[in-house]
Symmetry: C2
Subunit: 360 residues, 2 copies
DNA sequence: GCTTAGCACTCAGGGATAATGAGTGCTAAA
DNA sequence: TTTAGCACTCATTATCCCTGAGTGCTAAGC
C-alpha cells in the first residue's frame, strides 16, 4: 500500500528526530518542526496509523514513537534525503587518504581507522582478493640463528613473508640458487598448479637447498588460498560506547565481541553478492548479537579483479544519510586511488586538485 | 616500618579476596579463610591499623576495606605468592605461539591478540627496534597502473613495502638496473648515512630510473627512523567491559580511548629503562585516564639488539600473580623463539616437522 | 469529510522516606 | 593479648507518591 505524502513526511520526521535525539518522538515535537502545518492531534492520528501499519512502535503507552525496523527500511530506501558532503568533509577525507594510505602492508588497518574516524563508529574494512592470486616473485633471505625469511610478492601487489627455520645448514649461495629456480619455475601459478611433478622437478634442480622446497610450497599454497578469502581489519570499537544505546554495558560487550570475532567474517561474503552501498537494518542482520544494530557497507575497487569493502556498525538509529554519503565517498576515493588505471597523481599534484573541484 | 607477620597475612588476604570478588572485604570474610585462627574482632583491629598505615582504605564507614595503591604496591613487591603456571597453561601458551607466530609481517598484532586471550585483558605489544636498523636488500617490482612497489628488507628481518607512483614511464629493465645499483651502493646504511654525495653517485649510475632514487631514499630514511621508534598493536579492548569496575561506561570509554590512542605510546619508553617485569599500580601511571588502572608489562628479546614488550591493562584489582606469571612465561617463550641464538627446541620433533604440523 | 481543541487516562522517571543488613569501633571480660 | 558483645553508621534496596509527557477519543469547527 502506498503511503500518503503526509504520512511519508511524518515518518521521515520521526526517523530524523529519533536519529538526532535517541528519544521517543512525540506528536508535539513533530508539530514544532518547520513547515509542518498540522496540529498535534492530526499528527497523532497519522502516527497512530503508521503504528498499525508497522512503521512505528511505542515503547510504552505514554511515550512517543520510535521507528520500527520496517520504518527504518522504508526510510533508507525511499524517504531519506541525500546528505550532501560539504567541501570540508571531502577535503578532510581526501587528505586523510592521501597521507595515510601510502604503505601497502597495513592497508586494511589504516582504511578501517580512517573510516571509523570519519563516521565516529566502529568500522571494518576488508579486501577480498580474487581466488586467482599468483606469486610474482620469491625472495629468500638468510637470517641469523639458522633461519631464513621467505618473501612472496603476489600479483595483487601484496607482500607476505614468513620466518622459516632451516632444518639443515644452508649457505647464501644455496639460497640464491634456490630462489632463481623458484622464480623460473614457480611464478604465476595458482594454488592448484603446484603439482607433485612440478615439485619434484624443482627439487631436482634446487641443489643443496632442495629440502626447503616442500616447506616453501606449502606456505605458498596456504597463502594463495588464504588470500582468496579476506584480509580484514577493525577499528574504533570504543566509539560504540559513546552512544546512548550502548550505555548498557552488556549489550555493548556483546556487540563488540561479535565484531571482534569472526561473526562479521561473513559480511564480506554478503557484500560480494551485491555491489554498491548496502544497508542492513537491525533484524536483517545475520548474527544474532547484531539484531539490534545496523550495518552500512559499500565496496570499492582495488583493481585486478579484487574488491575491497568498508563498513560501519552502529545503532539502528544511526544517521544513515550521513554515514552512507561518507562511506560512498570514501569508497569512490579509494577506488580512484588504486582501482582505475589512470595515474592518480602526477608530480605537481594537479589531479588531486581536480578531484576536489569535481566534488564541489 | 616493618609489618608484623600477622599484618602481612591479613593484608595479603584482603588483597586476594578483593581481587577475586571486587567487593570491599570485611573482617568476617577474612575470619572464614582457612588457616586464619583469629576472631573477627582481632582482624578488625589489625585492619584498623593497616588502614591508618595507609595500606587499606574504606570506601565508607560501614563497608569493608579495599587495598590502597600502597597496599597493592606492597602486595606486588613482597606479599604476592608466586602463581605457578599449570602444565596445561604452558602448553596452551606454547601451542598458541607455535601456531600463530610464523608470519613475520603482522607479528605485533598476533602477539597482542595472544596475550589478550591468555590474560583476558586488553593487551599491548610493541617492538622497539634499535635505532641502528639498516637495509639488507631493496626490491623494486613493477606494478600495473604506472606504479611500482618498493620492498625494503631490513636487518631486523622486518619487511616494509610501499606503493610508489611512477612520475615517468620506466621499463622493467630500468628497474632491474636501479635495484642492482641500490643493492650495491646503499645497503647496510643507517638513516644518517644517506649523504648528498652518495645520492648523486647512485643517481649517476642509475640510468633511466634515476629520478626514482630520491623518492626511494626518502622513504628508506623515513622507515629507518620510524623503526627506531616502535611498531605496536593492541588487542582485546572489549574484554575490559566484562569487568565490574568498568560497568561505568564513561570510565570504560575513557580508558579504552586512552589505550587506543597514543597515550600508551610512552609505555614502551618506560619499558626501555628497566627490563624484566614491571607493575604500575594505578596512580603510578603516567596517563591521567589510567590513574585507576594498573599496567603490567614485561620485555622480551627479539635479538639483534632489539627489544619487544608485551603488557596488559586492567583494574588495579587484577590478579597480579597470575597475570605476571603468564606474561613472563610468554615473554620467555618469545625470547626463546627469536631472541636466543640456540635453536629453540631440539626434541625429536625436528624443526621442519613442527612447521608442517601447523598446516595440518 | 478533514482538522483541531479539549479532556481523561496511562505510565516512566524522579524524589523522598523507611527498612535492611553488612561492617565498624570500642569496651569489658576471659 | 584475644575475643564477645553492643551501639552505631551508612550504602543499598524497596516502596510510595508525584509530576509531566504523551496518548486516544470525542465533539466542535471549517
Amino acid at each position: 500500500m502506498e503511503l500518503s505524502e503526509r504520512k511519508k513526511k511524518v515518518l521521515r520526521s520521526v526517523v530524523d528526530l529519533y536519529i538526532r535525539t535517541a528519544e521517543p518522538v512525540g506528536s508535539k515535537a513533530i508539530t514544532e518542526l518547520p513547515d509542518m502545518k498540522y496540529s498535534s492531534a492530526t499528527i497523532r492520528n497519522e502516527m497512530a496509523e503508521l503504528t498499525t501499519m508497522g512503521y512505528l512502535e511505542q515503547p510504552h503507552t505514554s511515550a512517543g514513537r520510535i521507528p520500527s525496523a520496517a520504518g527504518y527500511r522504508l526510510y533508507v530506501d525511499e524517504l531519506m534525503l541525500d546528505y550532501r558532503l560539504s567541501v570540508d568533509e571531502t577535503k578532510s577525507i581526501n587528505s586523510a587518504i592521501e597521507e595515510k594510505m601510502q604503505r601497502v602492508d597495513k592497508m586494511m588497518d589504516r582504511v578501517a581507522r580512517l573510516v571509523s574516524q570519519a563516521t565516529n563508529l566502529p568500522a571494518i574494512s576488508a579486501a577480498s582478493r580474487s581466488a586467482g592470486a599468483r606469486v610474482k616473485r620469491y625472495e629468500l633471505i638468510l637470517a641469523e640463528k639458522g633461519s631464513f625469511i621467505l618473501v612472496l610478492m603476489l600479483t595483487d601487489d601484496q607482500v607476505v613473508n614468513k620466518l622459516i627455520k632451516l632444518p639443515i645448514p644452508v649457505s647464501e649461495t644455496d639460497l640464491k640458487l634456490l630462489s632463481a629456480v623458484l622464480n623460473a619455475a614457480m611464478t604465476d601459478l595458482t594454488a592448484d598448479d603446484f603439482t607433485e611433478a612440478l615439485l619434484e622437478k624443482v627439487m631436482a634442480s634446487a641443489g643443496a637447498a632442495a629440502s626447503l622446497v616442500p616447506v616453501i610450497v606449502d606456505f605458498t599454497q596456504e597463502t594463495l588460498r588464504a588470500r582468496a578469502k579476506t584480509d580484514m581489519a577493525i577499528a574504533g570499537q570504543a566509539r560504540l560506547l559513546g552512544l546512548p544505546e550502548y550505555r548498557d554495558v552488556d549489550k555493548a560487550q556483546r556487540v563488540l565481541a561479535s565484531i571482534d570475532e569472526e561473526a562479521l567474517s561473513n559480511l564480506p561474503a554478503v557484500m560480494q553478492s551485491a555491489s554498491g552501498t548496502k544497508v542492513l537494518v537491525g533484524p536483517e542482520n545475520v548474527a544474532d548479537e547484531l539484531k539490534d544494530t545496523s550495518v552500512v557497507m559499500t565496496s570499492f575497487d582495488i583493481g585486478d579483479g579484487m574488491q575491497g569493502m568498508i563498513g560501519v556498525v552502529g545503532p539502528t538509529r544511526m544517521d544513515y544519510a550521513k554515514v552512507t554519503a561518507r562511506l560512498t565517498y570514501f569508497a569512490e576515493s579509494l577506488s580512484k586511488m588504486f582501482g582505475k588505471p589512470e595515474t592518480p597523481q602526477l608530480p605537481e599534484r594537479t589531479d588531486a586538485k581536480a578531484e576536489h573541484n569535481k566534488s564541489e
